[in-house]
Symmetry: D2
Subunit: 328 residues, 4 copies
C-alpha cells in the first residue's frame, strides 16, 4: 500500500503518521508517500490523511508504472530516460592514464557524455587481475573532469563502495553484487545515481523487488540494466533477455539500460546486440570499449575497438531518431 | 570432410565415387559435393577427383560460413536473405475464409509478399483446437493466389506434411517438430523451401546440426528461425536468444529469421522485439497477426492487430534502410 | 471434465453419448469414461448417465492422482510400479549378437528381467552411427527370448515405429520424439506398454499433457521417465530434475522411472545418480551398460561396465528394501 | 601453480619467498603452500625451495581432489565428511525461544548434533519479515548450549557477519551472498567453519572458484552446499542439481552437503529429495524443520514437521549404513 500525503502535511507529521501505522515515510521524486506492508491500517483509519491511497498487488510497488509514469532521472545536468539515450563507452578495467585518456578523447569526439571503467573487479577466480583500486578511481575522475565527462564505475563490495561514491557520478552495482543488501543500503543512502544490473540468475520479478530496496531507502535516481542471464546456450557468454527488458520498459517507471558486451562475450556481435536493444526501446547502452582490445587485462574478447564504436554510435543515432530520441 | 567435384565430373560418376568412399553425393546450390564422416579416404585416394577438399571441425559443415558465404535462397521469384528482408504476417491458426481474406488484403496493402497461417496445430494439450486441416490449407492457398502472396504454413507431423508440401510455398517446421527425422527427411526431399524453427530446448550447435540433415538431403532452400528458448524467466513466454541469432548470422551461410511472437507471448511487446531483431541483423520476421486478436482460437494473447502491424511495417522499413536492406 | 459411466452402460451407449456431447469415449484400466473439453454439456444434461463427474483444473486429467490412485502397469506377466521396481540395463546401441548376448547373460545372472538396446538412433549429427535397424531389433528379440527377458527399445520416428512395436515389449519414446504426435498416436494405438521420456526442454506440466495424448488414445500402459533437462550447468550432460520427478510421483497416477545415464553423461557418476533416484522414490531405473564401454559406438562415456552394474544392483536392492520394495 | 614448502622452511622465509614471486603464502591443513597466478617464476628459479610443485589446469586448485584427497573438517569435536554425515535440522527463521527450545529438544532426542536457524534474513522483498537480529543469535546460542548442540546460522551481509561469527559454530553463506567478496573475506579470516551455498545461478566451476577465495585466505574449514539452481521448471521452487553435486563429490576435496528444502519448496517432497541426495553420496543434509510449519513466519510451505523429520532421520540412518556411514 502506498499513501500519498496531502501537500499541507508537514514532514514531521508524516513521520509521526508513518510510525503509528508501522510504515515508512519517504520522499520520492517530489512526492511524499508512506509505504506500508500491512494493508488495513493505511487504507482504513488514516484515509483522511492521504490525497490518494494505492493498493498494488506486487512487491515491486515504487518501481511500478502503475504507481507513476515512466520518467527521467538526472546525472548532474544530464537527463537520462525518455527522449535522451546515453551511450556509455569505456574499458572493462581502468589500466593506465594513457588508456583512459584515449578513451575520453574518443568519447568527447563522438559528442557523448559518459565514460565507464572499473577499478575494483569482482573476479570469478582469485588468480586474475583485481583492478587498480582507489588510484584507478582518482585517475578516471581526473581524466573525466578534463574532458567534462560523467563517470560510471562499479562497486564490488562494501569495502570499496565509499571510493565509488566519492569519485564516480553513477554507482554501478554489478550482476554479482545485486543481492548484497549492505552494499545496496550504502549506495542508496549516498543519494547518488545508481545503475543496478540484473543478476544473471535473477528473475525480472526479483530484480524489481531489489530495486524496491533502493527506492524504499529514498533514492529514486535508479537506472536498471539488463546484461544477460544464464541459460543452456553457450555460443554467447550469457543470453541477453530482450523480452524481459521489454517487460520492464512496459511495467516499471525506471529507465532500463542494456549491456550487450557481457551478454555477447565476443566483440564481433556486441554492436549488433546493442543496436537491437536500442531498436527494442532500451533507454541506454553500456558498452565495453578499449583502445586496443587484444591487450586488455580483463574481458579482452568482448571489448570493441574505436572503429567498431564509431559505427555503433552512427547507427545508434539513426535508430534513436526513428522514435524521436537522441543519443547523448 | 567435404570434397567439391570438378566441373567435368558427371552426376553418374559422382554417385559412383560417393559409393566407393562411403559418402553421400549431394548437389548444393549448384556445387556438387560428396560428404563423408570418415576422413582418410576422401582426403587420400580421391584427391585427384576433387577441385578442393575441405576439412571442417564441426558437425555443421554445409551450413557453415567457412564452407560458403552467406547467401540468398529463393521462394518462387522472391529472394530471401542479404538485402531483402521478408516480414511475414498472418494468424496463428487459419480459422475462416473471412479471416484469411482480411489478412491477405492487409498484407497486400502494405506491399508485402508473404502470408502465414496454420491448419495443423501441434498443441500442448489434447483438449485444445487442433486446426482446420486440409480444408484450411486449401483455403489459404486460394486466398493467397487471389492476392499474389506466398504462403508459409506449419507441418505438425508426418501425417500432414504432404498437405503442407502441396499447398504451401514455404514448409514451416515448428519448434516441437525440429527433431522429427522422418518429417525432416520428407520435407527435405520435397525440395520446397523450408523454414526450420529452433527447438526451445535446443542449443545453437544442435540447431545447425539438424539443419545439416536437411542440407545433406540435398535441399539447400533452408531458412533458420530463432523463436525463443526456455529459461527461468516467466514474464515472457520464452526468452528470445538474440545473441544466439547473431552467432548464427556470423557463422552460418543460411538466412536467419526471428519470430518475436512466441518469444514475447504478449502482443504489447511483440513489435518492439521484432524491431530489435531486425536492427540486430535478422534476415526476416515471422509475426502472428489477427484481424481481431481477442477472438483468436489459439495464441490470442500474442497476436498483434492491424494497427500494431502497420506501425511495425513502417518502422521495419526505416531500420532495414539503415543497412541498405529492403522489407519485402 | 471426465464423466465415469455407470457399470450398466454398454459400450455402444457410451459411444453414442460421447458423440452427442462432443467428447470421447475411452476405456481406461477397466473404468469406462467420457472425456470432454467443453464443460456445461457434460455436467448439465447428462448427469444421470454418469456415476461421477470430475472437473479437473489442469490439462493433465487422466494422468492425475486426483483422478485415480497410483498404480501398476503390466509388461507381460511382470508388474511395474508400486512395490516392484525394474532396473533396466543394456547398451545404448545394439552393435552385435556377441554384445547383446553378454548383456543378456549378465542381466539374467543378476536375476533381473529387462534388457534395453536401440537399433534406430536419433542422432544429433548426420555424420554419426545411425544404428543397425530392423536387423538389430530381430537380434535383440532373439537373444532376449533365449534368456526370457523383456526388451525395451527406442523408436526414433514414424519410419521405424512398426519395427519397435513388432519386436520390443516396451516402446521407448525418446526425449527428442516426445512431441511427435504421429509417433505418439501410432505407439498409443498399438496398445503396447510405452516408456515416455521427458523432453530435455519440457516442463513437467507439458510432459503430463503429452502423456494425456497417449491416455486419451486409450492406452494406459504408460511409464514416464525423467532423464535430465537442459540448464546452464555443463559439468554433467544434462541436469537430472529429481525434484520434478518427485512432483510426478506425488501428482500423477503413472509409474515414474529415471534414466541417470543421459543426465550424468559420465559413467563415474551414473550409479550414484541412479541410487539417489531410487531413494527418492523412483519406480524404476533405465541405465546404459556395455560389456566394454570404451569401445561403444555411441555414448561411450556414459555406459557403465558389468562391475559397476553389479554394485548398482546390490545397493539398489538395499535401498528398495527400506521402502518394502523389490528390484526386478 | 602451487608450490609446497619444505618442512624446514620457516613461516617468515615463506612470506619473503611469496613476496618475491608475486604469490601468496597460506597454510592449508598443515601444508604450507605458495600460490601464484604466473607460472614461470615459481617453476623456474625457486624449485629448490619446494618439496613439490603442482601445476593445475583449473582455477579451482586448492579445492581439487587432484591436489589432496577428500577429507574431513572439524566443527568443534565433531567430524564432518567421509564416514560421518551431519543431518542438520531447524527452522528457517529464529522466531521465539519456545520455538527454538522445541527444536533443540527434538534434535537432541534424535541423537543429532546440529541445529540451524537464521536471525538475519536475506529477503527478496523489502516488505517481508527481516529476522530477529542479534537477539535471535543470542537466543539460539543459549538454547544450543543448554542441549550441547552446534549452531549453523546464515550471514546476510557484512553488517551482520560479526554476530554470526560470535554466536554460531558454522557460518552459513547463503545462495545470494555467495559473490559478496567482502563477506567471504571476513568469514574466511574468522577461521570458523563455513558452509558455502552455491548460488542458484552459479555454475559448478564458479562455485569451486569462489571456494578457492576462502581457501586462499587460509581457512580450509569449508563445507560446500548444493541447494538448487534456477531452470525453466516451476513445479519445484528450484531444480536440485544432484548430478552437479556428484561432480563435486568426485572432483573436490571438500565435504558437499545438500539442502533439499529450498530446492523442493514443498514439504511433501523435501524428505524424498534429501534421502535421494544421501543415497547419491552427499556428505550431509541441511533441512528446514519447524514445530508448526503452517505458522512459520518465512518459508512456511517448505519446512517439515517433527513427524516427517523423525521418518527422515530413520531412513537416513539406513541409507548411510549401506555405505558404512553414520548420521550425526
Amino acid at each position: 500500500l502506498i499513501g500519498t500525503l496531502h501537500d499541507e502535511t508537514s514532514d514531521a507529521q508524516a513521520h509521526k503518521l508513518a510510525l503509528e501505522i508501522g510504515g515508512q515515510f519517504i520522499k520520492f521524486l517530489g512526492r511524499r508517500v508512506i509505504v506500508s506492508g500491512s494493508s488495513s491500517h493505511l487504507a482504513g483509519h488514516f484515509e483522511e490523511e492521504f490525497s490518494d491511497v494505492l493498493e498494488l498487488p506486487s512487491d515491486a510497488q515504487l518501481s511500478s508504472s502503475d504507481f507513476m509514469d515512466k520518467r527521467q532521472i538526472k546525472v548532474g545536468e544530464i537527463h537520462v530516460g525518455l527522449e535522451t539515450v546515453p551511450l556509455i563507452l569505456g574499458p572493462c578495467s581502468i589500466e593506465s592514464e594513457g588508456q583512459i585518456r584515449q578513451v575520453a578523447e574518443f568519447v568527447k569526439h563522438q559528442d557523448l557524455n559518459f565514460i565507464r571503467g572499473s577499478a575494483f573487479k569482482p573476479r570469478t577466480t582469485p588468480y586474475g587481475f583485481q583492478g587498480l583500486g582507489v588510484e584507478g578511481m582518482q585517475l578516471i575522475r581526473k581524466v573525466a573532469d578534463d574532458y567534462g565527462l560523467k563517470v560510471v564505475s562499479e562497486t564490488r563490495d562494501t569495502r570499496d563502495v565509499d571510493s565509488i561514491i566519492e569519485y564516480a557520478d553513477v554507482i554501478q552495482i554489478g550482476t554479482k553484487a545485486m543481492y548484497d543488501y549492505a552494499l545496496l543500503d550504502r549506495a542508496a543512502k549516498s543519494m547518488k545515481p545508481i545503475l543496478l544490473k540484473r543478476g544473471f540468475g535473477t528473475t525480472i520479478q526479483e530484480f524489481l523487488q531489489i530495486a524496491e530496496f533502493v527506492l524504499l531507502a529514498g533514492n529514486s535516481n535508479l537506472i536498471l540494466c539488463e546484461r544477460g542471464i544464464r541459460t543452456f546456450e553457450s555460443k554467447s557468454r550469457f543470453t541477453l533477455d530482450l523480452a524481459g527488458a521489454i517487460y520492464v520498459l512496459h511495467h516499471a517507471n525506471l529507465p532500463l539500460f542494456v549491456d550487450p558486451s557481457h551478454a555477447m562475450g565476443h566483440r564481433w556481435g556486441v554492436s549488433q546486440l546493442g543496436l537491437g536493444a536500442l531498436a527494442a526501446g532500451a533507454d541506454g547502452l553500456l558498452v565495453e570499449m578499449h583502445p586496443d582490445p587484444e591487450s586488455a587485462r580483463t574481458d579482452a574478447a568482448q571489448q570493441i575497438d574505436f572503429s567498431m564504436a564509431s559505427e555503433l554510435v552512427r547507427k545508434s543515432r539513426l535508430i534513436a531518431e526513428i522514435d524521436g530520441r537522441k543519443i547523448v
